[in-house]
Symmetry: C2
Subunit: 114 residues, 2 copies
């Protein structure tokens, strides 16, 4: 990740959202897409990404298919049925979280009852 510790905790949701959006993706592609969507501001590290992908697979949220492309292995990840409902929940959580942060960052001026 780049320049900020803020991303901690949101990686899983980000990955799941991209898979929901794109059907299936391989690890390298996911990091590319995140850079693209964030104008290079967020760069996923593989040391974080692959363990997360493996964990989600073990939890039955993702399934994999290996394919050969130009003699390079690509491991495609896609959501299971369970995965689809998990994404929906995670996205809701994230929206509420973002709202909460915004209430802190741009607070309504307090009424002078204090």
């Amino acid at each position: 990740m780049i320049q900020t510790d803020l991303i901690k905790g949101s990686l899983k949701t980000v990955v799941l959202k991209l898979l929901q959006e794109n059907g299936r993706m391989y690890g390298y592609e996911i990091t590319r897409r995140v850079e693209e969507l964030t104008s290079g501001r967020i760069k996923l590290t593989y040391g974080a990404l692959y363990p997360v992908l493996h964990k989600l697979e073990n939890e039955g949220v993702l399934v994999t298919e290996s394919e050969n492309f130009n003699n390079r292995i690509r491991i495609y990840y896609s959501l299971t049925d369970k995965g689809h409902s998990v994404v929906a929940e995670k996205i809701e959580e994230m929206k509420i979280f973002i709202e909460s942060l915004q209430n802190i960052i741009n607070p309504q001026p307090r009424l002078t009852n204090a």
Copy 2:
């Protein structure tokens, strides 16, 4: 913290922002204010909050004044000059981070050039 792992990494920024907004605050007050601003969605834990406050003090970002209120010690924290510029940076980072997350959560449909 409540119900979501999303908050990881943003605690420091949240604390600093509140101090910028309110002049000086004590630990307990900070947790109250965060609950208030987020409608109870984010509850800071003291096990996370106090170590962060102490760390920020050691870094010269905060200073403390102890006061006695109803036989209870209150330790007020406020920003140093350095602290004020640190908040400004952190807030900028957080705004960009939130923007980035929103680009991922609500992506513009991709033009079919891929």
